[in-house]
Structure formats: structure tokens, C-alpha cells
């Protein structure tokens, strides 16, 4: 079966006064029919930018500078290189107008974290939903209204025909997020991109919504890309997972093998740092240091400055995710040189390097020279004090 969405080597950069922020720097993944694919990472990993790039919704000063995005035979992003190596957008790319009229809303829908940003406060909830359906499905007003009420009921809004005329501020946060889910599903798109849709919600409301999405996904056969920082949500809802770190993909696997047969030290460290609701953990094992700025990422593997398994070779080589699964196992990609037989490097012979993981025991200690992250965006000694 072919994937419905293919993302290859996607690069989205932000051109700021202080330099180029490589928010997404060569990311590849697929989405197949009827699956929920997670993109997980900490803030600054580039997961939201990656999701927006698929919809070509990246705003100034950001732009997509490389890679390919193909969706059901259509080319959303593609580049050509001329003889000087200059990249230009290729001809086959959909025009902005085609994106607007054919793709967004109809084929790919997106749900954001803050529903108030997506709903207009001066129009009624029902009116906005009805208009959206009218435009995207080419139906008349009364037909659209019926569909809108049905969709509201479907996502669990009580008294949908009475609440149709309410304004967004009259809905609770969970209800608003349900409205957006109704809007996303109203045109029966093939793919829904959900960007941290439950992060701002209470845990019981989050539970209700995850449950509802799972039901609707089954009913409509929609594929989802679920962007989140919460490993619990990933475990709950995703079929396959992509783990991002500093603009790149660290690991990609089925949800079960990601949690139970983890192949990348970053994923491992992330899972170890979580307090658990289901068991008492005496001592948390945090990841040392902070994520470096994407404006000046460390050379080699981007995680090597915080990685407990880092060796000299990790400073020089930036691995792309490769399949490291054993025979008869499903594909499990990891971008880590410790799988030396796959990456054909001499990892074991390479000397372990000194980084913050080996620098004493107070892991809480965050030292100055490794780049206090300036809010003003100044460039600081990147934590790769190891830059060669």
C-alpha cells in the first residue's frame, strides 16, 4: 500500500536578524491510510513547524527551503536545482490557489492547540461551521446547516441545535476544541493534522476527546498526524511515532517498539525523565542541560552534547535515521551511530566524549558557557564547545 502522505528531507528555515534558524532540517516520514502518526518532541524540536509545512502555512520570516511533500499524487512541496545549485520551487508544485481550494480543509484539515485562535469571536459557532461546510462541500445553506448540527452532535456537543447560535466564548475550552474537530472532519478529509489539540485541556476533558477522536477515526477512516510533547498521549492514541530533536528525526517506529524496544538514546532519556502516574518513581533521571538553539546546532549528531552514549565519532557524523530493526521485525528507524553495523562506523573503537552527562553529578546544574538560552535571540556559545 502506498502512503497517502510522503515527506522527504523537508527543510523549513526562519531567516531572522540573528541568523538562520533551522527549525526543520531534513525530516522525512510517511502517513498511510487510516493510521494515527505521532510527532513527538520537546519545545523547540520543530514538530509544529513540520506540521505547518505540510499545509504550506509557514509564515514570514520562515519558509520551506528544501525537500518534498507529496499527498495522494499531488505535489505540495518540491524543489529543482539549477546548474549553480540554486534551489527554486518546481513547476509541478500546487499553486497557492490550488492549495486553498483543493487541499486545505477538503483534503487535509488542521486543528491547533488554542481553539480561540481558529474561531472568530464575533461570529456564532454554528455560523462558522456552516459557512465552512458550505464553501468546502459546495452545498446550499440549509443543507450545510443540517450537516453542521449533525457534526456537532457527533463530536459530543449537547443540545447541538440550541448551541448552534452560541458564540465561541460561551463554550468551554473542551467544547471549543470539539467544535474544531467537528470542523476538521466536516469535509471528510483524508488527513487531519492535530497540533497539540489537547495540551491546554484538563485531563478528564483530554480523556473524553482522545476517546472521541479514536471513535471518529474508526468511523471515517481518516488518517491523523498527532503533534504532541506528551508521551502519554502518544502511547494512548498513535499507531506509529516520529521522535524529533532539534529539527531532525531521532527515531521512528511502531508505538509498541518505540516504548519497549527503544533504539535512540534521546527517546530513552525522554522516557526516563517522566514521572509516572501508574507507579512511584523514587528518583527521576532528567536529561542533562537544555536543548541547544536551532540557530547554531551542534555539529555531528545533534544530541551528542547531552547524550550518555556519545563518542568521538558522534561529533563528526550527523546520522540520518536508518532501519535498525532485526530480521523479521517491522521497520524501526533510529539516527544513532551506536548501531554501528547499520551505519558502518567504528563506534565502539571511538573514545567516549566528555559532555555534561559525565561532568559531575548535579544534573540540575546548568552552566553558563553552554548557552543560557536568551529570550532576546542573541547568539551564545553553543553547547558544542566541541565545535571543531
Amino acid at each position: 500500500m502506498d502512503p497517502i502522505l510522503e515527506v522527504r528531507d523537508l527543510q523549513t528555515h526562519f531567516f531572522t536578524a540573528d541568523g538562520v534558524v533551522r527549525a526543520v532540517d531534513g525530516v522525512s516520514f510517511d502517513v498511510y491510510e487510516e493510521e494515527i502518526v505521532g510527532i513527538v518532541g520537546e519545545s523547540g524540536a520543530g514538530k509544529s513547524v513540520a506540521a505547518k509545512s505540510i499545509m504550506r502555512l509557514v509564515e514570514d520570516p520562515g519558509s520551506i527551503v528544501g525537500g518534498e511533500v507529496r499527498f495522494k499524487g499531488e505535489t505540495i512541496v518540491s524543489f529543482e536545482e539549477d546548474e549553480n545549485g540554486e534551489r527554486t520551487e518546481s513547476e509541478e508544485m500546487l499553486s497557492n490557489r490550488e492549495m486553498r481550494e483543493r487541499i486545505r480543509g477538503r483534503e487535509i484539515a488542521i486543528i491547533f492547540q488554542d481553539p480561540m485562535e481558529s474561531l472568530n469571536p464575533v461570529f456564532t459557532v454554528g455560523g462558522q461551521l456552516r459557512e465552512f461546510i458550505e464553501i468546502n462541500r459546495d452545498v446550499g445553506e440549509s443543507r450545510a446547516r443540517e450537516t453542521a448540527v449533525d457534526m456537532l452532535r457527533e463530536v459530543g456537543i449537547p443540545e447541538p441545535s440550541e448551541r448552534f447560535g452560541d458564540y465561541p466564548h460561551e463554550f468551554s475550552g473542551g467544547m471549543r476544541q470539539r467544535v474544531l474537530i467537528a470542523m476538521a472532519l466536516a469535509c471528510e478529509p483524508s488527513l487531519v493534522i492535530a497540533d497539540e489539540p489537547t495540551t491546554a485541556l484538563d485531563v478528564t476533558v483530554e480523556g473524553q476527546i482522545l476517546e472521541q477522536v479514536a471513535d471518529l477515526q474508526e468511523k471515517y477512516g481518516t488518517s491523523f498526524i498527532w503533534v504532541t510533547h506528551d508521551m502519554g498521549v502518544v502511547a494512548e492514541i498513535c499507531d506509529r511515532v516520529n521522535v524529533m530533536y532539534l529539527g531532525q528525526m531521532a527515531e521512528r517506529a511502531d508505538v509498541d517498539s518505540l516504548f519497549h524496544d527503544t533504539k535512540h538514546p534521546y527517546t530513552d532519556a525522554l522516557l526516563d525523565s517522566l514521572p509516572r502516574p501508574d507507579q512511584t518513581v523514587e528518583e527521576l533521571k532528567p536529561i542533562v542541560g537544555v536543548m541547544p538553539e536551532a540557530i547554531n546546532p551542534p555539529p555531528g549528531c545533534r544530541f551528542h552534547t547531552r547524550c550518555p552514549d556519545a563518542r568521538e565519532v558522534c561529533r563528526r557524523t550527523n546520522p540520518e535515521p536508518r532501519d535498525v530493526s532485526g530480521p523479521d521485525e517491522r521497520t524501526h528507524r533510529a539516527a544513532c551511530l551506536k548501531h554501528e553495523e547499520v551505519f558502518k562506523v567504528d563506534y565502539s573503537a571511538s573514545a567516549p566524549i566528555e559532555n555534561e552527562t559525565s561532568a559531575g553529578f548535579d544534573v540540575g546544574r546548568t552552566s553558563t558557557d553552554t548557552g543560557a538560552v536568551d529570550a532576546d535571540g542573541g547568539v551564545h556559545g553553543s553547547r558544542g564547545g566541541a565545535d571543531e
Binding site: E42, S43, P158, E159, S161, E162, S172, G174, M175, D202, V203, T204, V205, E206, G207, Q208, E211, H229, D230, M231, G232, V233, V234, A235, E236, I237, V255, D256, F259, H260, A269, L270, L271, S273, L274, P275, R276, P277, D278, T280, V281, E283, L284, K285, P286, I287, V288, V290, D362, V363, G364, R365, T366, S367, T368, A372, V373, D374, A375, D376
Partner: protein, 444 residues
């Protein structure tokens, strides 16, 4: 019930009377109500449909915190968990008297904070500090880190200039920052580091008690772990007592010794950490625990999803405040119903009250709600009446009728629950505000 020696013996005035050790802080019947509106003439209500004079006088009150009683022992961490709007932050601020309580007392090291005033209260504040959630807005962007840390000492007249600087540098080091950071501005720090500055500032006056209001909620998972570990270490080093507030049950489980669960202004359950997580008794606590996504795909169980939304704290439900959403709402004693019959009646009643379906025909509704089990007798007659009203399109009358027949006579709507449960894990008292425990001993 286990046969652990009953902790409920002796006089007890609340969910948590210290049976041992030395309570540092004791909160008794603490209540905080806010006026719902403020401003000139806000006490005037216009009622367009009223007979006679269409105005009435009186304010609406948001009952944010209602009759909360607990204590915190010296050196322990009490976790306070609840969803947004449950009143946990208001409770914390009322405990510290950052807002004045409507009723109730707060004893801190023997003194009643609720009765202190002016200078006496100000001096007392030296021993109680608070850390807020947002590490961005809790630090003055125009002050350097050193003076930020020194400010509380200055306010309380501690040490001289040099002494304060020395202590500030030492504290920066103790919270895991570099003493060289003394001359930097807050913007030069990441979220986790800013929270460390907040810790250093709180510690500067050598307090006994720190309220931590969602201190790690704005931080990434890996950074959160660093800060939580530091907070624990500092607790040992400085002999601190924490009231740790969070909506995150995983964090609460990690950091707390005992845990209180809050719903709509009240504490519904309070027990030792293991007891609360492994042997929860209140249906709300159970629902919360079932709702948390566990970071393990092999443990994703089906969960009991809570119905509906949290009711308004302006007119909270009578009796047990959780009863409008409770999956275990108790049947009124006057009806003799099987559990299946009662489950159907309960589901039907709630759906009618919420207008949760479109009126079709009575036969359809009977089929939807009562195929397997339909009560007869008085309960059946009450249902018949509701169907008649529904068929006439009188939704509100039907809802009122069902409320009168099935909701209001229940013990859950009539009496406020407060019970002691025998703990299965540890010896800490286990308080549970749920009438399912009504065979256990009442505490109020």
C-alpha cells in the same frame, strides 16, 4: 476493609487531624467566596420577567473554596491536585493570606494567620513563601538576578549589603545555577533556570514553608525532571515543608508524601500517596486516575470517561458537589431498583437534563434507554410521567420532574459526605467525601 487499626478514633474535626508528629500548618474550615461582579450598582439585578418590581438586590457569590480542612506536617510535601477552576490556587493564596478568607482559620506554627494583621502578618510572611507557575512573569525583567534574590531579605531587614550578596551567591549555587549569574538579567535564562531563580529568592529568607503553585507546568519534560529533583534535594537540605499544587497527577505522585484531591472548591479525598493512587475510593479520584494517559502503550486501558462539564461554582450542587457527573450516584432509598435499572434511570435523567437527544417517539426512547432493564413500581410511574411531559415537548418540566423523583431524594443530594476509610497502604488517614463509604465513620 483492611484491619489496620482504625485511625478514626478520638475526636476529629476534619479530614486530616494530625495523629502524630507536629503539624506545621493547620487549615480549618477555610472558605473563600468572591463576589461575581464588581463595580457600581453591581448588586442590582434586573429581572425582566418578574412580577411587580423588576429589580432585586443582592450579589452572586462564586464559592471558590468551601470548608476545607487539612494539615501539613513539618518536612512533608502535601500534593494538591485538581482540574482548572477547582479552586486549588485560590486555596493556596487564602492559606498564605494573600487573599482574606471568608471564613475559617489557618494556624501556622501555632498562630492563626486569619487573625493576624499588619506588621505581625508581614513578619510572619518571612516564614512562608510561594513560587508561581510562570517563570517569565514572576521575575522583574529590569532587575538583575542578584538583587531579585536579595529583595525578600531586604524587605525583612536581614543581613547587611555584603551579607546579602554573599547569601544570594551561595543560594544561586545551591539551586544549581552559577554564582557568576548574579549580574545577569532574567531574560538570559531558560524557563527551567528562571524557576531556579524563583527558588533561590524564596529560600533567601530561610522560610519553613513554601507553596509551589504549578512550578513545573510550563517546563518541558526533561527540564521538569531537573527542577523536581532540585526541589526535593532542597527540601532535605533546608528542612522545608511544601504545599505542592499541580494538575498533573504524575508530578504529584512523584513529589508528594500525601495527596489531596480537590473538586469544585472542596477536598474530596485526602490520603497517603500510595494509598491514594493504589486504593482510590472517591469516584472523582478514580475518574482522574483513569483519564491520565500512561506513557506505555501496553497499559492503555479503556477508561470510564466522565460525562458533562464541571458545574458553576456560583450555584454548586447540593450535598456532594460531584454528584451531577458521578458514575456511582446512589439511588434514592424509596425505590427498590436493581443496579441495571438504576444505571438506565440515571443515564436517562442526565440526558434529559442536558437535552442530550432529539425527541423522537416514546417507543424509540424506551428502546434506547430501557431495553434491558426498566424499573416498575413508583420509579416506573415517575418515568411514565416524564415520558408524557417529553411527548408534549415540555423538556424543562420533564427535567424538573426527573430531578424531583430521582436526583433530590438521593443521599448524595441531601447530605454532605465526609468519611474515614481504613487505609490499605501506610498509616496515614484516608479521608473520602463520598457516600459510598457511608458504613464508615463520619468525620463531620
Amino acid at each position: 476493609m483492611s484491619d489496620v487499626s482504625g485511625p478514626g478514633e478520638g475526636a476529629s474535626a476534619g479530614p486530616d487531624v494530625a495523629e502524630e508528629g507536629d503539624p506545621l500548618l493547620r487549615v480549618e474550615g477555610l472558605t473563600k467566596h468572591f463576589a461575581n461582579d464588581s463595580g457600581f450598582l453591581s448588586w442590582l439585578n434586573v429581572e425582566r420577567d418578574a412580577d411587580g418590581v423588576p429589580v432585586s438586590v443582592g450579589r452572586e457569590w462564586v464559592r471558590a473554596v468551601e470548608d476545607v480542612t487539612f494539615d501539613i506536617r513539618r518536612g512533608e510535601t502535601l500534593g494538591l491536585v485538581g482540574e482548572s477552576g477547582c479552586g486549588k490556587s485560590t486555596l493556596a493564596r487564602t492559606v498564605l493570606r494573600l487573599v482574606d478568607p471568608t471564613e475559617g482559620d489557618v494556624y501556622f506554627e501555632g498562630d492563626n494567620l486569619a487573625a493576624l494583621d499588619g506588621e505581625a502578618l508581614r513578619r510572619k510572611r518571612k516564614d512562608m513563601q510561594i513560587i508561581f507557575q510562570d517563570p517569565q512573569s514572576s521575575l522583574d525583567p529590569r532587575m538583575k538576578v542578584g538583587p531579585i534574590v536579595e529583595e525578600p531579605m531586604k524587605a525583612h531587614g536581614m543581613l547587611d549589603d555584603d551579607g546579602r550578596e554573599e547569601r544570594a551567591r551561595e543560594l544561586l549555587e545551591r539551586v544549581g545555577l552559577d554564582p557568576q549569574h548574579y549580574n545577569r538579567y532574567p531574560h538570559a535564562f531558560s524557563g527551567g533556570q528562571r524557576q531556579r531563580i524563583n527558588l533561590a529568592r524564596a529560600l533567601s529568607v530561610n522560610p519553613d514553608f513554601i507553596v509551589c503553585d504549578e512550578p513545573t507546568s510550563a517546563l518541558d519534560a526533561s527540564i521538569q525532571a531537573q527542577v523536581l529533583n532540585t526541589m526535593r534535594r532542597l527540601q532535605d537540605e533546608f528542612g522545608l515543608t511544601y504545599l505542592f499544587i499541580s494538575h498533573d497527577l504524575s508530578v504529584i505522585r512523584h513529589i508528594s508524601d500525601r495527596v489531596a484531591v480537590m473538586y469544585l472548591g472542596e477536598i474530596v479525598e485526602l490520603a497517603g500517596k500510595e494509598e491514594l493512587y493504589e486504593n482510590p475510593q472517591h469516584p472523582y479520584t478514580k475518574a482522574l486516575l483513569e483519564s491520565i494517559p500512561v506513557p506505555d502503550p501496553r497499559k492503555s486501558e479503556t477508561r470510564g470517561v466522565l460525562e458533562g462539564d464541571v458545574p458553576s461554582p456560583i450555584e454548586p450542587p447540593s450535598g456532594c458537589r460531584f454528584r451531577t457527573r458521578c458514575p456511582e450516584f446512589i439511588a434514592p432509598e424509596q425505590y427498590d431498583l436493581t443496579p441495571e435499572e438504576w444505571a438506565n434511570v440515571r443515564a436517562f435523567t442526565r440526558r434529559v437534563i442536558r437535552h442530550g437527544f432529539e425527541m423522537t417517539t416514546r417507543a424509540d426512547l424506551e428502546a434506547e434507554f430501557f431495553t434491558e432493564a426498566r424499573p416498575g413500581g413508583a420509579a416506573g410511574e415517575a418515568l411514565d410521567r416524564a415520558f408524557v411531559l417529553l411527548e408534549r415537548g415540555e423538556w424543562d418540566a420533564a427535567a424538573d420532574h426527573l430531578r424531583e423523583s430521582f436526583t433530590e431524594p438521593s443521599i448524595c443530594a441531601r447530605e454532605q459526605p465526609a468519611y474515614e476509610v481504613d487505609p490499605e497502604y501506610g498509616d496515614d488517614r484516608h479521608f473520602c467525601a463520598c457516600h459510598l463509604q457511608r458504613d464508615a465513620e463520619m468525620t463531620h
